[in-house]
Assembly symmetry: C2
Homo-oligomer: 170 residues x 2
């Protein structure tokens, strides 16, 4: 009877240890999850962003404004050369609808690097755009910096976008 | 004696509860710290970035290339209009030393918005640069997008920087 009492007295102590270990394990997992959320996996991030860029190129080529604009966050900002910045999706839409006025066009986007943390990522890239046809055709070339924001559903959307040309000014 | 034994038997149970509460509290604090690290305080972030921009404007005005270049990360990228992107501090230095060849100049930087997570932040801004003097003087105007990276010492440095002019192309 006395030894049973001792075992019973010891049991809760064991439970303390087991509970503490279990809590610690959960704690590390939570921290690890946060860490994972913060330090984005570069390969996965690049893959996700290149997939959206592929959608963007297709929408631009098709002159499909609705599909293209769906790639932006509601509070996106674009900073196009030769124009004022457009803040918010309504202003972004206005800019692109004017650009789509003559139909779709070819814009090649080439991701150079991506990085980020938490719900934000940024992308450095180059772009090229063939203009005209035949002997008078030229290929404009430039570069861009895009800030991407991940929504609650895990989808990356364009949040800020600026570009310029690389050809020296005339 | 029997009631003392019951109290002794209950004590470890209480310890379990206390330990669990304590562990939970530590866990939340760790998560909160990660959350704080991830979601940057917008006001503090803006203050920090505007302080570096003030140093940048002063260094540009003075033509002090060393002080200006110290504001970039070692692996910074700049994407200037009318030129190829410059990747890495050596290439960034080469670009700016050419720009400083005729001495310092006035560049006004105006932060429009900042946001970010973890060690990354981005800034949307406008710039203006008076060129020439007297009646023939003009003020060039444009906008920029900068990605900032926070070092281990807490200092924010320019990590990617692109800008363009807002005047319509001739």
């Amino acid at each position: 009877m006395r030894s049973l009492a001792r075992i019973c007295a010891l049991l809760p102590g064991l439970l303390v240890a087991v509970t503490a270990c279990s809590e610690r394990s959960q704690q590390e997992t939570a921290a690890e999850q946060m860490e994972r959320a913060m330090d984005l996996d570069p390969a996965q991030l690049r893959e996700a962003i290149e997939a959206v860029n592929a959608q963007a190129m297709e929408a631009l080529r098709a002159g499909d404004a609705a599909s293209y604009l769906a790639l932006y966050t509601d509070d996106a900002t674009i900073l196009p050369p030769g124009a004022a910045m457009a803040q918010g999706l309504d202003a972004v839409r206005e800019y692109w609808l004017a650009s789509f006025a003559e139909g779709g066009f070819t814009l090649n986007l080439n991701t150079v690097s991506v990085d980020g943390a938490g719900q934000f990522a940024y992308e450095i890239g180059t772009w090229s755009m063939p203009i005209g046809e035949g002997e008078s055709s030229v290929v404009e070339q430039g570069k861009y910096l895009a800030v991407w924001k991940r929504g609650a559903d895990g989808t990356w959307k364009l949040h800020a976008d600026i570009w310029n040309t690389s050809a020296p000014a005339m």
